[in-house]
Point group: C2
Chain length 195, copies 2
Amino acid sequence: MQRLKERIQRDGKNLGGGILKVDGFINHQVDPVLMDACGAELARRFRSVGATRVLTAEISGIAPALMTARYLNLPVVYARKSKPITMPDTVYLTIAPSHTKGHMVELIVSPEFLSAGERVLIIDDFLASGATILGLVRLALAAGAAIVGIGTLIEKTFEGGRKVLSYLNIPIESLVCIRSMEGDQIEFGDCNIDG
Amino acid sequence: MQRLKERIQRDGKNLGGGILKVDGFINHQVDPVLMDACGAELARRFRSVGATRVLTAEISGIAPALMTARYLNLPVVYARKSKPITMPDTVYLTIAPSHTKGHMVELIVSPEFLSAGERVLIIDDFLASGATILGLVRLALAAGAAIVGIGTLIEKTFEGGRKVLSYLNIPIESLVCIRSMEGDQIEFGDCNIDG
């Protein structure tokens, strides 16, 4: 998606160690008009998969998932990283390594909002190693739901997440793919290079 | 706002202790169509305050703030509760008590996205005691910004937050006001009762 790519070229920053700083328009500060356009495009790509619910992980997945879900007219569930007191005692919980925090985090979904027979579309801001998305996959499968697609704003193809998720045999769509972040460069590439 | 009120009547639950469970449509699971309508209404009410930025707190403030900001065509900044590695070393940080977590949380904003001269519209899901919103107020004032309005989805008027914030002498708008949560009841009331 050209518009997102241009924004990354203008305002994104390679901090080294595979960390892409996009907190001026995706996380921390969000450009709602850009995010709306990203949601519209992800919704277009997944229009025909028959999803009944969008699933993401707090925090930075919320904005793209919400905008996508709005265009698909579906409820969106964000997995919590700590269990609020409003949640029932028995929940679906998995752990996943956090890319930007350097430790394991919990991903928790209430059984009230994820059930057997659901068709789940997973949306997140990044596809990197695939660890967070695999956590969401485990939650959906624990609930007896099917996963019908995975969509992200930015994929770092050099981290191999697409290959890790390929066993699911479902469509994986990223709006922008980055194939290399050597030095302070950000090199864009084809999203289906490992596909 | 009638539509939100009806949804609370249908799907909200009084858990006791002043805790309103709305995680089927506002937090955890979000109804994006309802949230869009709430954002449109908050944007309408604050159209004329001359805001340059929307400020909220992660996690559950993100959805209403994003939708409001989209209608106002403004960037939205969400205060983080832990400092990610993408944030500069020097930040604005304050602490505030968390209503649903029972302990103090940090609220952190990068100086990159909040500056002197900004006109800040604060949007959050709840106005209860006003503690979180006061935290956001402190962050904005620390940055030298002006606060031009406060908007929330649901106000629990019996917790007195509106009075706490009244010294700011700015418009405070809530889409639905709850005046009492005795027993398992949810009693709606006038938003300007303490105004």
